[in-house]
């Protein structure tokens, strides 16, 4: 009998899951329910090539509507208000409902918002989705001084793009380094140096005490009493998994929806994938929640297999990138749990990589280079990590020795 597979959320994990289910199950009904009125699209260009007008909206879609139609995957733009896990129903605000046999939750994550004590909350712009990117692109066109609150990936990518659009950019970060949540300080300092060389102002260790609007100009008062004047405010201060819909249900939540290595949640026939899932990783023997392109895709594919009955463990090694100016930063594995650091290279023109080892095994690595200079070594590191291969540290530290020999059969 044909089953009803419903995917809640319409991003990258959703569409890759849907197509993977279809690969393994030609008959069942597959429906994606998305709050956004766009087919699933790539988010990485939003803060970069889309702002820079190098890519248009049409360039961002993963697949055309024809691809989904040919694979008999329904895509509906609708908002779900309530979930009844016991009776396997999803309700809209009009109390219409969808019945599912298996449900995949891939609702992603949402911006954390600043809370100001005056009426300026609506004057602060965020960039996560296509609508927000369009708004920022339009609004900054006649602005000069832009302040970005938060020195994480998204803030710095926007800072890089706006600098290339000849804007005067200031980044305010509360922490003692940029990208402090996941990027090692050594790499963060190199990125900071590049931003400064291109003319961006980077302010670390400062909190915002107050923002005042005067004649269309904002005055930002910092906790050391310094004042910044700016024409436009953008914040990128992190994100939280989109789980509001499940808060009063039996679904187990802990920094997202808790899933095992098969994308299964605490409720039978309910799966979660992508940013919203805090998943168990068998190699690291802990749960991890990731917000990255590669993870959204691979986790979606893994969920699709499991939903279609092909039991598959998720063992993908985390990988993410950020492009700022001519730099490409890459991170693989986890870089916050180590007992030894090894440096490879010291010039970003040839690439600089820090390897993080624990008990002699590589746990992760973070690299920075012009264009693709660190890509091959980071990719090889993912494979070495996955296979738990113990590597001669002298080889890791010597840029003249190729790493690809280490993984060849």
């Amino acid at each position: 009998m044909n089953k009803n597979f419903i995917i809640l959320g319409g991003g990258q994990a959703a569409v890759y899951a849907a197509r993977e289910i279809r690969k393994n199950d030609k008959e069942s009904n597959i429906k994606i329910l998305s709050e956004e009125n766009f087919l699933p699209y790539e988010r990485p260009p939003l803060s970069k090539d889309f702002l820079l007008n190098k890519k248009n909206q049409e360039d961002l879609f993963f697949h055309s509507s024809d691809v989904l139609k040919n694979e008999n995957i329904d895509f509906e733009n609708i908002s779900i208000n309530k979930v009844d896990f016991e009776n396997k129903k999803l309700f809209t605000k009009n109390d219409d409902f969808y019945f599912y046999d298996s449900l995949l939750i891939s609702t992603g994550s949402e911006n954390k918002k600043l809370s100001l004590d005056n009426n300026l909350n609506d004057d602060i712009y965020y960039l996560r989705n296509l609508e927000e990117a369009k708004t920022i692109k339009e609004k900054v066109s006649n602005k000069n001084k832009i302040t970005i609150i938060g020195g994480g990936f998204i803030g710095l990518e926007i800072a890089s793009s706006l600098s290339q659009l000849q804007k005067k950019v200031t980044v305010i970060e509360i922490g003692s380094q940029l990208m402090g949540r996941i990027i090692p300080k050594q790499i963060a300092d190199l990125v900071q140096k590049t931003h400064i060389e291109y003319g961006n102002e980077i302010i670390l260790n400062k909190q915002i005490d107050k923002i005042i609007k005067k004649n269309g100009i904002y005055e930002i008062l910092l906790n050391d009493n310094s004042l910044i004047e700016t024409d436009f405010l953008i914040a990128g201060i992190g994100s939280a998994p989109s789980v509001k819909l499940f808060e009063n249900t039996n679904l187990k939540l802990d920094n997202g929806i808790v899933t095992n290595e098969f994308c299964e949640t605490s409720i039978k026939d309910v799966y979660a994938a992508g940013d919203v899932s805090n998943f168990y990783h068998p190699l690291y023997e802990r749960t991890i929640r990731l917000e990255s392109y590669q993870h959204a895709q691979n986790h979606g594919i893994c969920a699709g297999k499991n939903i279609a009955g092909v039991k598959t463990e998720y063992t993908s090694i985390p990988w993410m990138w950020s492009d700022q100016f001519n730099l490409n930063l890459q991170l693989t594995g986890i870089c916050d749990d180590y007992d030894e650091i090894i440096e490879r290279g010291n010039d970003i023109n040839n690439g600089v990589i820090y390897f993080f080892l624990k008990n002699k095994n590589i746990r992760g690595a973070c690299g920075l280079g012009i264009a693709g200079k660190v890509g091959r070594d980071i990719r090889i590191t993912s494979k070495l990590t996955e296979k738990n291969i113990i590597v001669d540290k002298q080889i890791l530290a010597d840029q003249n020795q190729k790493l690809n020999k280490l993984i060849q059969k």
């Binding site: 790539e42 990485p44 090539d49 993963f62 392109y293 590669q294 895709q297 990988w319 990138w321 492009d323 490409n328 264009a371 693709g372 200079k373 660190v374 890509g375 091959r376 990719r379 090889i380 690809n404 993984i407 060849q408």
Partner: protein
């Protein structure tokens, strides 16, 4: 096939197995690969964003872009994994007296 379009790239021992070299000719960049069963050539720039594939990883007949991990089949040029979606152009290769030639149209 006219003879003049075959361009000499270098000697066969200039490429290790499961590896590649970059080859620039006029204003174009190519990648020439040595796989277990012979030599192959593709465009040298990723179809996703303008980055040189020479810094990418060659494995099992595939080249992976070093910047965003788009993957292409070296023999067919087919884009196998996002963010790459446009195929990579491939070129005929021949070996003559331990020298590699590619045919550029």
């Amino acid at each position: 096939m006219s003879e003049e379009n075959w361009i000499e790239v270098g000697s066969t021992d200039s490429i290790e197995e499961e590896d590649l070299i970059r080859f620039d000719h006029q204003d174009k960049t190519f990648c020439v690969y040595r796989l277990t069963d012979g030599f192959y050539a593709t465009d040298g720039i990723c179809t996703h964003e303008a980055v040189h594939l020479e810094d990418g990883l060659v494995m099992d007949d595939e080249i992976e872009c070093p910047m965003h991990q788009g993957i292409f089949n070296i023999k067919s040029g087919e884009a196998l994994s996002p963010p790459a979606c446009e195929d990579l152009k491939t070129y005929p290769v021949k070996v003559d007296n331990d020298k590699i030639f590619i045919k550029i149209d």
